[in-house]
């Protein structure tokens, strides 16, 4: 082989490099916004973000069973069905590995699930490594979530906030003003759903801030561990905290088949921590020491082991 042919060899290999990765692997990527790790073990691919605490799992997908909710909290996001069982338009802030999206699109094919994601690399990896293909019903916009909400002129039946950066939520997505902006874009009978970590003092400040905007908030503790899903609504009545008044979980469960057990989700409702919330600060654009509250541990003994 002539030397000039050898020079073209890397070009011949490019298509192979661009193809979807197969076999077990670990890859790391430093992007403008994140330090990401993608690891495949067998058929499961994890998307993790590096942070001070180590690596935080953003999402995981079983490529042999993409509808499976590998990370527990994504199934708890379906608690929104108790409060708005027939969503037609859903806005999700934060793409992650799109594990929630695949089941949602399969269960509710006619519902629009619009996602807004800040990091283009997350979208690229979710497509190339975790096998997610956005469609007309599951489009993804690349921009800051708060900017998207501010510029959105439409109403949403569900707004899901699941935006993290290496285990931290950006401070501007934690304030009273942001929650007001979300409430303004939420349909009157809509539900705002957010993924919270219950292991730091930020949790109580978050709840206080949510409650300052939304008259009613109900909490679900995924697997009794640190991930708490909060569902909040704009109306005072009817009361949303009484499970007996919620739609029948068995009926609701039908489109989700056995991927999510809504009876289990319903049983994970936890009481409102009144005393802790009373002591917590209200987070505003003017006062949001989110990073400091996020490193102050709560009493972890409250969590089930």
């Amino acid at each position: 082989m002539k030397i000039r042919h050898l020079l073209f060899l890397p070009l011949l290999l490019l298509p192979a490099l661009a193809a979807e990765k197969t076999g077990d692997y670990v890859e790391s990527f430093d992007t403008t916004y994140n330090s990401l790790t993608v690891e495949r073990r067998g058929s499961v691919v994890e998307l993790r973000a590096r942070s001070r605490r180590g690596e935080y799992i953003e999402s995981a997908v079983d490529l042999n069973d993409p509808l499976k909710q590998v990370v527990g909290y994504t199934r708890t996001l379906y608690s929104g069905l108790f409060f708005q069982p027939k969503p037609e338009r859903v806005l999700m802030i934060g793409l992650g590995g799109a594990a929630f999206h695949r089941l949602f699109a399969a269960a509710y094919p006619s519902v629009l699930l619009q996602t807004v994601e800040l990091d283009p690399k997350v979208l690229e990896l979710t497509q190339s490594r975790l096998g997610f293909k956005p469609t007309d019903q599951t489009p993804v916009a690349l921009m800051d979530g708060r900017l998207y909400v501010k510029r959105s002129t439409q109403k949403w039946d569900w707004i899901i906030l699941d935006a993290f950066r290496g285990g931290y939520v950006p401070p501007h997505l934690k304030t009273q003003e942001f929650y007001r902006e979300c409430a303004a874009r939420l349909a009157d009978n809509g539900v705002f759903i957010t993924n919270l970590h219950a292991t730091t003092e930020l949790f109580y400040a978050d709840l206080k801030t949510l409650k300052s905007v939304f008259p009613q908030v109900v909490l679900f503790n995924t697997n009794g561990r640190g991930n708490v899903i909060a569902c909040a609504v704009k109306y005072q009545t009817p009361l949303m905290s009484v499970p007996a008044a919620w739609p029948d979980p068995v009926t609701l469960n039908a489109p989700l088949q056995d991927r999510v057990d809504l009876r289990l989700v319903r049983s994970e409702q936890i009481p409102w921590p009144t005393a802790e919330v009373a002591r917590a600060p209200l987070l505003t654009d003017d006062f949001a020491p989110v990073e400091f509250l996020d490193v102050m541990k709560t009493n972890n003994t409250k969590e089930k082991q």
């Binding site: 403008t32 708060r146 950006p170 401070p171 501007h172 942001f178 003017d286 006062f287 949001a288």
Partner: protein, 204 residues
């Protein structure tokens, strides 16, 4: 005694400059997020202000006395007024900028230049004049500039650490901006009074 006050004021100016950068990041946060992109624009704006402010201050320090005094007062007044605008109307301005500029990069550029560039440029213009003050009192120019920029940088460090770990966790950003405004009025006023005692420079 006057030298102690003088050096204290140089440190305070250092605190004001860099502490203001952290407050600026909190002002921008709700509108543009807190990514490295925001920080790149913010740091570049402040460095540009330090650069042009130093050159402006060098030019002012060479002016004949009556004109020099007038320019010092003008720089201080402009710095205080633009800082007051940021403190009182910064959030309202950012609301409008965010709507007016769809592209976040352009919005950031306009925000940084409109709200932070001028006050920091005016604060920075006093650095070379402080060097001139020491040089006129007999300190060699090299030693004077080394001392001023050394203690000013100590003030910068104190400004960052104080603002990040003591002030922002406990006080609203709006209150801190009013505090910055009050300290700027007092420190610039004190510094102008001290700088009035600088004799004519040989080149003027």
């Amino acid at each position: 005694m006057s030298l102690i006050v003088f050096h204290t004021l140089v440190i305070v100016l250092g605190i004001l400059s860099m502490g203001f950068q952290l407050l600026a990041s909190r002002l921008l946060n709700p509108h543009f997020g807190s990514s490295i992109i925001v920080w790149a624009w913010l740091i570049s704006t402040f460095l540009l202000a330090f650069s042009l402010g130093s050159m402006l201050g060098g030019w002012i320090s060479c002016q004949p006395r009556p004109r020099r005094s007038r320019l010092q007062v003008a720089a201080a007044v402009l710095g205080v007024l633009t800082l007051a605008f940021t403190a009182f109307f910064g959030r309202a301005a950012l609301d409008q900028i965010e709507i007016a500029f769809i592209d976040p990069g352009t919005g950031l550029l306009v925000s940084c230049l409109g709200l932070f560039f001028v006050p920091v440029t005016m604060l920075s213009s006093f650095g070379p004049q402080c060097v001139q003050y020491l040089a006129a009192r007999g300190t060699t120019p090299g030693a004077a500039s080394g001392l001023i920029y050394g203690i000013s940088t100590v003030g910068n460090i104190a400004g960052v650490m104080l603002t990040a770990f003591a002030l922002i966790p406990h006080f609203p950003v709006s209150s801190l901006l009013y505090l910055w405004l009050a300290v700027a009025v007092l420190s610039l006023g004190g510094l102008i009074a001290i700088l009035r005692t600088v004799p004519e420079s040989p080149s003027s």
